[in-house]
Symmetry: C2
């Protein structure tokens, strides 16, 4: 009994929690209940509407089937269903005429027709372009069978067809009125917010990647969820993953949004929802670069901390400026404003140029000059000169590379150091790092000859420095892709008629509960 009580408490708690986090769910449920209740009054109708009362279950059924979370979904289902019913009604009446003409073959004709209609409707709905109308095909088939069957039983085809259509139309109408007039939930607004969220998520992820890289965060064991691209708790990973994964959600929302009439801030016939999806696609194109940068952190081959510190300032600046651009664009989408300055990308481009120049100057840090063919060749050729050169190259290594090692506490920020390790949250969920290791395989398995191993160690060292190059190149490529993002944004701003911030400054705050409650439009 006590256990039962605790279960009830737990379930109630979860239910309340869901309601608190998204009150629209409570409102939607109440709306569904209201629509059902309104229609169930039909059962108390007396003559001359007895017929309506008898078949009122069809109206209720329509509500259950048609009532969807967003207005767009409800509209598209209603119209689909309505069209399906109409066509099926017409077809079944025609078939009924035909079958009565057939006399004693009537039953056979009915059966054959059901097979043919069932086959054709199912086959047609499998055609890829008809996928959004799947529901309409189902309603068509149900109605056809229903009218044929009950018409055969009662002999009143036309009455049945009309009756059913009126009730379905009534159900759909009540659904629509209740759904639109009371606190409407628009798919378009959801899409709008999803795109904004994507911008913010990616900005967070980008900052996270750059700062983790500079703080030399290492995964001792890469969570197997990341290795198999499942949802994981890592905030950096989650940021870009949600951007990449939102494609299907966006497509669904767009499919509903196009059915919605102009409303709220989207007062425009044929609002360009497609451009929102396109903008999000451009954002995704940038997100892939962040993903690849995260790959540098996940990788076994890691650039040494002291080399990363050399480029610290530049990398950080590019990361910050990039995130700033993303946030700015996200805010602009939210406010539905055009860009107020044309030089949005200037800062980030400058930062990228700085980084590029720094790399250019310090690129000796990124390669392993000791193993150069051309560095060794002169020793055999010219003797002395070569020695000097080699000496130089050694001194480089000692002077430049090693001295930077004291930069561990370069600017006070770097407290994590080289060996910082993300704690494994759940050991059973993580694969051993070793399993994913290329160098472990390459560099240890064949350790027969000691000399070769030495060579391999150097190769590994060089590879680890190249990893820094890769990270920087990817960051620069990310910056390059921002232009495309801005272009997509400007296209959206044009087509969706975003306001010009220089002309007007009208606050676009979301309305209060009561304003929205009666916001019929």
């Amino acid at each position: 009994m006590l256990k039962w009580w605790s279960t009830v408490k737990r379930v109630t708690g979860k239910a309340l929690e869901m309601g608190r986090s998204d009150p629209r769910k409570i409102i939607f449920s109440a709306k569904t209940g209201l629509a059902l209740t309104l229609l169930s009054f039909l059962i108390f109708l007396k003559e001359p509407f007895k017929d309506m009362s008898l078949y009122c279950v069809w109206a209720i059924l329509t509500v259950v089937v048609v009532f969807e979370f967003s207005i767009g979904a409800t509209l598209s289902k209603s119209l689909n269903g309505g069209l399906g019913t109409l066509l099926a009604g017409a077809l079944s009446l025609g078939m009924a005429e035909l079958s009565t003409l057939a006399g004693k073959w009537e039953q056979l004709i009915i059966i054959i027709c059901i097979f043919i209609v069932g086959f054709s409707a199912t086959y047609t709905k499998l055609y890829p372009s008809f996928k959004p109308y799947e529901y309409g095909f189902r309603v068509f088939l149900i109605t056809y069978c229903f009218i044929t069957v009950s018409g055969y039983q009662t002999g009143e085809f036309v009455d049945t067809a009309i009756n059913r259509f009126v009730l379905i139309a009534l159900g759909a109408a009540v659904s629509l009125v209740v759904n639109i007039c009371i606190y409407p939930i628009w798919a378009g607004e959801d899409l709008h917010n999803l795109v904004i969220k994507n911008f913010m998520d990616l900005a967070t992820s980008l900052e996270g990647v750059v700062s983790s890289y500079l703080h030399c965060v290492e995964y001792k064991k890469v969570p197997s969820k990341i290795l198999t691209y499942q949802a994981a708790e890592d905030p950096i990973y989650n940021g870009y993953r949600s951007v990449v994964e939102s494609t299907s959600k966006e497509d669904t929302l767009m499919g509903f949004a196009v059915w919605e009439p102009p409303h709220g801030h989207y007062k425009m016939h044929k609002y360009p929802w497609k451009n929102y999806v396109k903008l999000s696609g451009s954002l995704r194109h940038c997100a892939f670069m962040v993903m690849a940068m995260h790959g540098c952190i996940l990788s076994e081959i890691q650039a040494p901390a002291e080399k990363r510190q050399v480029f610290r300032g530049e990398l950080q600046r590019v990361g910050c400026e990039g995130a700033k651009v993303l946030r700015e664009l996200g805010n602009k989408v939210q406010k539905m404003e055009k860009l107020d300055r044309e030089d949005l990308l200037d800062e980030v481009h400058d930062a990228a140029e700085e980084l590029q120049k720094k790399i250019d100057k310090k690129s000796y840090l990124l390669v392993n000059s000791e193993s150069w063919e051309i560095g060794n060749r002169p020793i055999e050729d010219t003797g002395e000169e070569g020695e000097i050169l080699e000496h130089k190259s050694r001194s480089e290594a000692v002077l430049d590379l090693r001295t930077v090692e004291v930069a561990h506490s370069w600017d006070g920020n770097l407290t994590l150091g080289n060996n910082h390790v993300v704690p494994a949250t759940d050991a059973s969920q993580n694969m051993s790092r070793k399993q994913t290791s290329l160098p472990a395989h390459i560099y240890h398995q064949k350790s027969n000859a000691e000399i070769k191993e030495g060579q391999q160690l150097k190769t590994f060292e060089s590879a680890s420095a190249l990893s820094l190059t890769t990270f920087s190149s990817l960051l620069i490529e990310f910056v390059a892709r921002l232009q495309n993002l801005v272009d997509s944004f400007e296209e959206l701003g044009e087509t969706a008629n975003f306001s010009d911030p220089l002309e007007q400054r009208e606050p676009l705050k979301s309305h209060g509960f009561w304003t929205r409650l009666f916001n019929c439009s």
Copy 2:
């Protein structure tokens, strides 16, 4: 009339085309028609089954709603619906008892109950964990309303409930029998094939990326569809995109496959479909690297052709070996065999090591040594030695970098050259290349000081060489990620009890039509 005829011909052509490309669609449609036909015989039933005949439309309705393409989907919908009907029946009977007790308040109680049940069922189904059971909740709500309403009208609650349940059960049973016994279409098999297809697609994409890179294929205008991550016709892009995009498809198929009984090659209770999805996730983790490599081709900053030629052999070998591993794994999944040798990755690891060594030796090609700080410092410090060094560094540039330029027709394969351009299929669909260009912005906009411009040009040159490093690093990281893929494969092989190729060699060809037609179970 002629126009109408041509439309008919076109539609018929498309319909036949769809049937040819996937005959299962024809079979599925015929099965649906058959199930409907079987149940429509109910309408001709005479006493004592008159009741069955009157309400037989419910059975037909169930078929239309429940009959799905794959067995798993049909099963899960049937069971969901069955459970929903049972619960709703029980609840509505209880409520009916209650409302009759209420006497003159009966109608009010009915209305209130409909609201409460409608609200609760809708609210519960919005809880994320209940999402797969959405259909069950709908059926529950429909049944509850139906029994309450028609029970109130006829006064026969129990009869209505039982009648409806029997008919729904009959409809579901006929659907299942027809769907399973005649040419069954298993979601599990679709999932299996999807995973294999993903392996093959990625292998093709990898080979395409490497060979395009070596042939210096450039996009004069990057298709805007790629920039906004929409489906495009580019074969390289499509390969990895379909791998990345298949997540939701895999999840859906897995959701159905777990409902399916052991069958065909999957003779095992609780077959580990989850591991297929996991394997595909690991493959996706590799695909992201191929995607990033393709990014190097899409990028404005391009490594010069002559430098790419230096690493041609190594890059090509890694690409080929990588694709070979992917194909081998795909074939093993298809044959449901474990790996027959443990050294599957040896070749590709060797190739990657070769590439790494080559990079190590030739890394001077990847950086712009002229602008090194340390390269210039010795001139001021030590005079003569510095001059020698600088001379060396110049001669490097002349001797090594420029001479490779003649390697344009190095091995006869390179006919495309540096200026090969992918023709823009539809000009209006492509954004101008300039728009996405970082260097154009950075390096040309500020061309006030001539000297600065010279510097910038060098910076750009250096950046373009770094692009080659990035490509190689990404390729090596791709190879590193293969280990994780092999681990996932081995896990699948263990849990799914794949056959050991060393023990038995049983051909697992797909069966012929007639074998499958009667392949019940």
